[in-house]
Subunit: 570 residues, 2 copies
């Protein structure tokens, strides 16, 4: 059984490590048995980590899923996050403690942020997934496999140019960047192929962090290996002299790229601090991609347990909307949603602050919290507009005052919204029992319906998201974005769902607009195909796809001793 | 037990897969037990693959090694290779069949070549290491960990420039490239940091394949995690305004880089086709680095079994020399060596052919083979000059005629050189029984002595290798190479061994000179520090550290089916 020392945690990041060190985890085969999996269904990958076998995945996903899918989404976040992962893990632990067989599904952390800005990417305190060090460093190699596969595609494309360019690739219209799992701003804009004819064809290039690779989204949405191959083959790498797409199929490299992703396709099984099964698998961006763990992990979890608790990125305007229009149509439908809200988050909207003004949020201000509740309410409405019942989970921070918590809670209750506090960070599953009971009561009381049909014209789909989800009055196309749409429809990609890339810090496309902005127009600047992933990326601003390191990177604090013990990961 | 179908193999690459598919491997815990390791000493990483635990490594390497170390080296090779890995694996299998507990140690294959020019990198036929697909694709992620660690160093350096450059790094004197495990010529010369002040500082940059990273050599020579950290901290990344070295220690990133390599430091245990324990670990270049599997794998193998059979890159002039002067001083001394020779290899020297003229080598020509024997003889002399007894292992190819084989064999026997044929590719260990018996008889009959002492001046060490190993008459320094030496001695690195980078296709620095070239001068063009690895790289020509893809990459033939079976890897 799992044992932890309840006195260790004081709510600080430093204490996360103490929790990790004091927790005795269950053998992974025992965790697998909770899901009805035998030792033959899991392949150990270091202590407390296993990959499901392909047979186990195929068997679990052969039929429609039976379990209840709980989608954890949130209010408009601050850059520090409102604790969705902690709430996801805590809720899973609470449901398990209530006797429901439960699987938690979250994204895999990227190495880049681990060495950049401090912060574990796998929950925290008594609501995190373990083993923390392994999950944060390499894990089972999925992201490295994606890097290798991504860069094989890039190398093949440049080799094609070098070897004669039979496909007549236009070097000015290459859309496939290179990828590395590192925060490295110097790679945002590069020139490659310099140094003469032995060193390729000179051209402009860019690197993205691997999480931003379309292959990450491809892996995240593939239902099986055949589907994975089909998706890879459809990726638009570049355009030829006639402006037609050049794909991995054209370059004969689809099979090799898929072969590199064979093991990465199989979900990773670990456990929470309280020993609840957790699938940690995939990690796409939540703006240029759909921002949740893999479809296959969700389908396995919902098939093998009564409850699947899964998380989507940013607020409901981004994560839940994309889950509804991109993920759900691939075979996993949310039965109930948790909208995570915090005193800090509400206060920011009440005070109409710029999202990074953390210091200004330190003073208790129940009135400001109350004034910010409309933001939370609007996220609940978005979830409900999909026919999904919602409960607000208030993620309690140590510095929150009772007056502020009550202000948030009471305002929501007054509106007839289901709400429960969660102290899952400090108390584990026990801190999310109320939330779990409300989730259980609401699950299945709605009927999921997307807001648009994929057969509608591209502009109609964009307009639906802009007006009905974001609350925009209108949509404006600039910089040739309308031509982009025409071209994508010509290429036969008009029937894909849209994936809007927008700031997460406002419902609008302007991060400074708090609460529920009114009287504004969404500006569409570019529409590009993620034809392999299966959606059209609609950009409302430049998106940062390669983070940089800060002046004092977290890497400076990280160390390892002679016994292999790593310090400074928090 | 291991079972294979003896009729499957016809000596062609295509038949390798048939061998793989028909072999039933032993559970990896059973293989570990051959080395006296318990299931607790190994951490499974997929079927037939395990990483040794750090405790097992420390325990095995705590004392001096007892086992006999057999170093497999070779004659001057052709670019197709003379079958050193096949001979290494086959010899290990033969020793095991003779009742000697044996470990085989070979390098980890890099992904780049897998998708470039066809060819398995883990032996072949009935003398290969398994599981072939896993070993060739990602394996346990060691090389990916090195890529991540390498590029974290690069990102930290560019971030240092961007954040104010306190160390006053001279952007014109940055020696640390970026790394990717891919064949990608377009990355040989790049410009990074373009696009304005949010995107770093513009500068010239280059990418190397990960196997060419100094970190690969660091990992290959580190004796424990403390030593790994010390070596990382000493790497010369760049020079500052005063021309002094800038190291990872200066950038506070040593601990983070070491943390990324924690698991990569632990050797990987697999097995041969005949179920003999094999450690597949590390894979540094054999020209700019020392070209053999990790020191820690060798030490574990020699500690836990009676015989360790390990392989060094290229011919004895490169691989065995570097083993003697770089690896041996870290604690593993060869007791006997096998010089692998082939009819094809000897014929090339007899015909004085350019190394890639394979077609001209197809016709049987015993006289040419006899004329080429002096090359083999000279490699034997090099090995013996270190006090290591040598036996020539003739790796028999299906097309070799008996007249050619006899010509090679007889000429060596006439000179009093021990020689044995090996048909390990087709016959497994049984095909290397004669070789194993000769190895057993010769082992320990010499006394290992390096040719130079590290305390000698740098130029004296270079001269010793040039004259006594390569057979040069003289050494010429051009392009400021003598200034390089002065600077390295100033930096305090003068007492490191030298690692000469030279064409593998001739004893000389001119690939067209066959046999045993006479009356020639070695040209030294540049001397650079691999201060972390612990040697000075002496370059006699430009070294290709980033391969390119051919016109028809092997990737085009690779595919995966719905069941996850991969085809085309051979």
């Amino acid at each position: 059984m799992v044992t932890t020392d309840p006195d260790l945690d004081d709510g600080t990041p430093e204490s996360d490590l103490a929790v990790v060190r004091s927790t005795t985890t269950r053998p992974i085969e025992e965790v697998a048995a909770d899901l009805g999996l035998t030792p033959d269904d899991v392949e150990p990958r270091g202590e407390g980590v296993a990959k499901l076998t392909l047979d186990a995945v195929r068997s679990a996903t052969a039929d429609a899923t039976d379990g209840t899918t709980v989608l954890v989404t949130g209010m408009t976040p601050t850059p520090k996050g409102e604790g969705k992962t902690v709430t996801t893990v805590g809720l899973g632990q609470a449901l398990a403690a209530l006797g429901e067989s439960t699987t938690v599904a979250v994204r895999e952390p990227s190495l880049g942020p681990v060495f950049g800005i401090k912060g574990g990417a796998a929950g925290g305190g008594y609501s995190q997934v373990l083993p923390m060090e392994a999950i944060n460093l390499h894990f089972t190699g999925d992201i490295h496999a994606l890097t290798a596969a991504h860069d094989l595609l890039a190398a093949t494309l440049d080799n094609h140019l070098h070897q004669g360019n039979d496909e007549e690739v236009d070097v000015r219209r290459i859309h496939w960047p290179r990828a590395l799992d590192v925060n490295d701003r110097a790679l945002r804009e590069t020139v490659v192929g310099l140094g003469g004819p032995a060193r390729g064809v000179p051209r402009e290039d860019e690197f993205v962090i691997t999480a931003a690779s379309e292959l990450m989204a491809v892996l995240g949405l593939a239902s099986d290996l055949e589907d994975l191959k089909s998706r890879i083959g459809r990726i638009v790498l570049a355009e030829d002299a006639d402006g037609d797409p050049v794909t991995p199929t054209d370059l004969d490299v689809t099979g090799a790229v898929a072969a590199l992703l064979r093991d990465a396709f199989r979900p990773n099984l670990v456990q929470t601090v309280e020993g609840v099964p957790a699938l940690v698998h995939g990690g796409p961006f939540a703006n240029i991609a759909h921002g949740t763990n893999t479809l296959v992990a969700d389908r396995v979890g919902a098939s093998l347990s009564e409850y699947l608790v899964t998380e989507a990125g940013f607020g409901a305007d981004l994560g839940a909307e994309k889950f509804a229009h991109i993920v759900a149509r691939e075979g996993i439908v949310p039965d109930v949603a948790v909208v995570v809200a915090t005193v800090r988050g509400a206060k920011r909207h009440g005070l109409e602050m710029w999202p990074t003004d953390f210091d200004a949020l330190a003073d208790p201000d129940p009135e400001a919290v109350r004034a910010g509740v409309d933001n939370v309410r609007r996220h609940v409405e978005i979830v409900e507009s999909f026919g999904v019942p919602a409960v607000v989970g208030i993620n309690v921070f140590p510095d929150d005052t009772e007056a502020e918590l009550a202000a948030l809670e009471d305002a929501l209750v007054d509106d007839g919204i289901a709400v429960a506090r969660s102290t899952a960070y400090s108390d584990g599953g026990e801190g999310a029992t109320d939330l779990a009971e409300r989730v259980r009561n609401l699950a299945g009381t709605g009927e999921f319906t997307p807001l648009y049909d994929v057969d509608e014209p591209v502009e109609a789909k964009i307009e639906t998201v802009a007006r009905e989800v974001y609350g925009a009055d209108d949509v404006e196309y600039v910089d040739g974005a309308r031509d982009d749409v025409d071209r994508l429809e010509e290429w036969g990609h008009g029937d894909l769902p849209v994936c809007l890339s927008k700031t997460p810090y406002s419902f609008s496309d302007d991060a400074s607009l708090t609460g529920v902005p009114e009287d504004w127009t969404l500006t569409v600047r570019e529409v590009t195909p993620s034809a392999g992933a299966g959606f059209l990326v609609v950009k409302t601003a430049d998106v940062m796809t390669m983070p940089g390191l800060p002046a004092e990177p977290a890497a400076e604090e990280i160390d390892i001793d002679a016994d292999g013990d790593i310090s400074g990961l928090f």
